[in-house]
């Protein structure tokens, strides 16, 4: 497997603002790589550096073996891009924009174009100014997905799509992955990428804080528990002693914690013994993960003690 994107120690500043602060990012060929981070973390800036629209202040970048700043135009034949803020020419029709972008890139998969138009239920004769936000997003998506480019850079591509179209997008992305194409998919919502991505890189304040296969990320396989108990006496001690329970918070009869898969049966049994009244369980969100990372940064000693 070869590497399609590799950045090392990437730095980019805008005046006094540090947008990228030593970012390391590796995307292997054939993978859908989730690029996660809160708004303002530097995701769009990274994508623009990868396209050679912005010049990095420091560090190294290679995209498909080329330098995006120096070889931009040639490199872009092999990259399809959906910007985070889709802006299209108001007086061109959607069909014209899709054709134009693909001709400028130098390659259009006619069969896929036709099928995508149908699946996304897009009227190609409408002028771009007349499209809703969701429909403009669809135009940009069809333009990128109908290309034959081996690498796709998608910046929050599902923003503004309804759930039905979101599903069409996911199906199409799986097809592309089956063809061996590589995708860098940015998002600020964890659940959006976890079904699609093999690997993720999580960035915050211009740095990668975690990277790797989703299945290997311990905290992401946890279950977040929020329970209401009738008899909470002694629950804090019991749960704290139970294996795989973390981030415990007890407030009267309300208990919140995160539990890893191995500790789930034990934890549920303890909760049951204390008169479980209501229970909400959900997968961890990106916000949970960040809260955890913040806490680790602030109180590394105490957390290390609590989790031997």
């Amino acid at each position: 497997m070869s590497t399609v994107i590799e950045t090392r120690g990437l730095r980019k500043t805008f005046g006094p603002t540090v947008a990228l602060d030593g970012l390391d990012l590796t995307v292997e060929q054939g993978e859908v790589h989730g690029f996660l981070g809160p708004n303002g973390a530097g995701k769009s800036t990274t994508l623009r550096v990868l396209l050679g629209l912005l010049r990095a202040d420091g560090g190294s970048v290679r995209v498909l073996g080329a330098d995006p700043w120096g070889d931009a135009a040639e490199l872009h034949r092999r990259i399809a891009y959906v910007p985070g803020d889709v802006a299209l020419w108001p007086n061109l029709s959607g069909g014209e924009v899709i054709d134009l972008i693909n001709r400028l890139r130098g390659g259009l998969d006619e069969r896929r174009r036709a099928s995508l138009m149908e699946r996304f239920d897009l009227d190609p004769t409408k002028k771009c100014r007349a499209y809703s936000k969701g429909n403009r997003q669809k135009v940009a998506l069809v333009a990128a997905l109908a290309s034959a480019a081996p690498l796709l850079l998608l910046d929050e591509p599902t923003a503004g799509l309804d759930p039905l179209m979101d599903q069409v997008f996911r199906d199409t992305l799986r097809e592309l992955r089956a063809e061996g194409r590589s995708v860098l998919l940015s998002s600020h919502i964890l659940s959006e990428v976890e079904n699609l991505s093999d690997h993720v890189t999580i960035i915050r304040a211009g740095r990668a804080v975690q990277t790797g296969a989703l299945s290997e990320m311990r905290h992401l396989s946890h279950t977040m528990i929020d329970a209401q108990l009738a008899t909470p006496d002694g629950i804090a001690g019991e749960l704290a002693a139970s294996l795989g329970v973390e981030d415990l918070l007890v407030e009267g009869g309300r208990v919140r914690c995160s539990v890893d898969p191995s500790g789930l049966p034990g934890a549920m049994a303890i909760l049951g013994r204390h008169g479980l009244q209501s229970l909400v369980s959900r997968p961890p969100s990106l916000e949970d993960l960040f809260l955890r990372l913040y806490r680790e940064e602030r109180e590394p000693a105490r957390l290390a003690e609590a989790q031997p």
Binding site: Y81, V86, L88, S93, D99
Partner: protein, 531 residues
């Protein structure tokens, strides 16, 4: 919901956004007028000199076309405000258009209005706020001008009439823009439509003022830019003329509000037609895209300069019948020595060069608006090289400028040739005279391109440069500016053909400077971030 809910907030928001724009316009415009009045007073201290100058100027058709007649040669104020009265009316009209459009259609297109109307905002609040702020800007500018003219020594009541004549034009174009903003769906189309009305009004007034009498005299009265001329400030102060714009403006505003009440946010009254399902083969390259984006503006300008050329060509034959020694002397000061007809043409061509430079800047700065809108990002993420994208728009701007001047000169020649029976011969002398002006326009276009290359926002500075060149050309002699300041304007180096012989050295030099500036912009753009 109450239709005007939130009006106060919207007015404050608009004033906050325009806190630089409006004071700058008001101060610069009134200062230029007061300054030129003061300079005229110094230049012609006695009545005889003033009368001679005024009569000479009034008898020159080229001058009447550009600035209108001088209704009272013995009035100091009439001579002193002669040029700026008409030019200022045009500036005021553009100020009105700029302010109203900014706060209505531009915001609506950008989706900002959606953001604020989703709050507790009445349906009429934004349009009303835009109109109020525009009228406030116009009143401040007009009042400041009236005060300035009084301060430098003109009669207060007439100065007030002068200011009021500007204010009335401004209010008329405020109301017109409010209406057009309802009709068109894009801010660009709104600006284009109102600018076309301003341009046509100016030309209509010019034709009316040159002909002096008969039915064509009525053209001045049909032109909104003609009304302030007909007020005749400092030469009778005919206040009643102001009733025309003041009666029409409420009607236009009422129509604007009626239309706004009936339409949806984001929509225009003129519906958008569906476009083609597939892109034509022409839309396959960066050049095809640039042409598609630029062609309608170029076509509009082409129609305008052709019309203007035909009109000028037909007026110019009357010139020789109006010769007086003073007129000749005055025109020679403006356009150099030579036959009166040639002098007239050279004055008009140097004026046309300024107008075409405005086209050049607008066309080059399409780069800037494409980058701001995020369209550049879409194109530059494809296999389009930066220099190709940059070249596609700049070369259309440069070639377009040349084409417009060629078109205008050809139109003048044909119109003139039809009357003197020698089209071929006329083409031979007039077309080269028009084409030398390309050199000045290219320097201005190149300047805009270089500034854009350096930074996206800097491009707009080219407009300031053009206004500076215009003021140097129009008022430099009056203010006795030092030679080196006068030479800053590229147009000061362009030969005044056909009245003077065409010298190749300055023309080639200016063309080279223009192209060098374009190349400099390309090199700078290659090195900066696309944002």
């Amino acid at each position: 919901m109450r239709p005007y809910a939130g009006l106060g907030t919207m007015v404050r928001l608009a004033l906050r956004r325009d806190r630089l724009l409006i004071p700058l316009w008001a101060v610069i415009l009134s200062a230029v007028v007061a300054g030129s009045v003061a300079a005229t007073i110094d230049l012609y201290p006695d009545l005889d000199g003033r009368r001679a100058a005024a009569m000479a100027a009034d008898a020159a058709p080229a001058a009447r076309f550009m600035y209108g007649p001088i209704h009272d040669p013995s009035s100091l104020g009439a001579l002193a405000t002669w040029k700026m009265g008409t030019m200022g009316a045009v500036f005021i009209a553009f100020l009105a258009m700029t302010v109203v459009r900014r706060h209505t259609r531009t915001d609506e297109e950008a989706g900002r209005l959606e953001l604020v109307t989703a709050g507790l905002l009445g349906k009429r609040a934004t349009l009303t706020a835009g109109v109020i702020v525009a009228i406030a800007a116009i009143l401040v500018t007009s009042l400041l001008t009236a005060v300035g003219n009084t301060a430098v020594g003109l009669r207060a009541s007439s100065s007030l009439a002068f200011g009021a004549s500007w204010a009335a034009v401004g209010i008329f174009f405020t109301a017109l823009t409010a209406l057009v903003a309802q009709l068109t769906q894009s801010a660009r189309a709104c600006a284009g439509t109102v600018a076309a009305v301003i341009g046509a009004s100016y030309a209509l007034r010019g034709v009316g003022d040159v002909s002096g009498q008969g039915w064509s005299r009525a053209l001045t009265w049909l032109s909104p830019i003609g009304w302030p001329v007909e007020v005749r400030p400092y030469a009778g102060d005919r206040w009643w003329v102001l009733l025309i714009p003041l009666a029409l403006s409420p009607l236009l505003l009422a129509a604007a509000f009626a239309l706004q009440d009936r339409r949806d946010l984001g929509e225009g009254i003129i519906p958008t037609r569906p476009g083609p399902e597939r892109a034509s083969p022409a839309l396959s390259t960066p050049w095809g895209l640039a042409w598609r984006l630029q062609r309608s503006m170029l076509a509009g300008w082409a129609a305008a300069v052709t019309f203007l050329g035909l009109v000028l060509g037909s007026i110019v034959t009357n010139v020789d019948q109006m010769v007086t020694p003073q007129t000749r002397e005055f025109l020679e000061k403006l356009g150099g020595t030579g036959s009166l007809l040639d002098v007239f043409l050279s004055v008009e061509f140097s004026f046309a060069a300024l107008a075409v430079s405005a086209y050049g800047i607008a066309a080059v700065l399409r780069l800037s608006s494409e980058e701001t809108a995020g369209h550049a990002e879409v194109v530059l993420a494809t296999a389009t090289a930066r220099r190709t994208w940059y070249a596609s728009h700049t070369l259309i701007a440069m070639a377009g400028s040349a084409a417009l001047l060629l078109l205008m000169a050809t139109a003048v020649s044909v119109s003139l040739g039809l009357q003197n029976g020698d089209i071929a011969g006329t083409l031979g002398t007039v077309v080269p005279a028009g084409l030398v002006q390309v050199s000045g326009a290219w320097v201005v276009g190149g300047l805009a391109a270089a500034l854009f290359g350096a930074a996206r926002r800097l491009g707009a500075v080219a407009w300031a440069a053009l206004v500076l060149f215009l003021l140097i050309g129009e008022l430099g002699d009056l203010f006795s500016l030092p030679e080196w300041v006068m030479r800053l304007s590229p147009f000061s180096h362009v030969p005044r053909a056909p009245a003077e012989a065409i010298t190749t050295a300055p023309v080639l030099g200016l063309l080279a400077v223009g192209l060098a500036l374009v190349a400099l912009g390309a090199a700078l753009f290659q090195r900066r971030d696309v944002t």
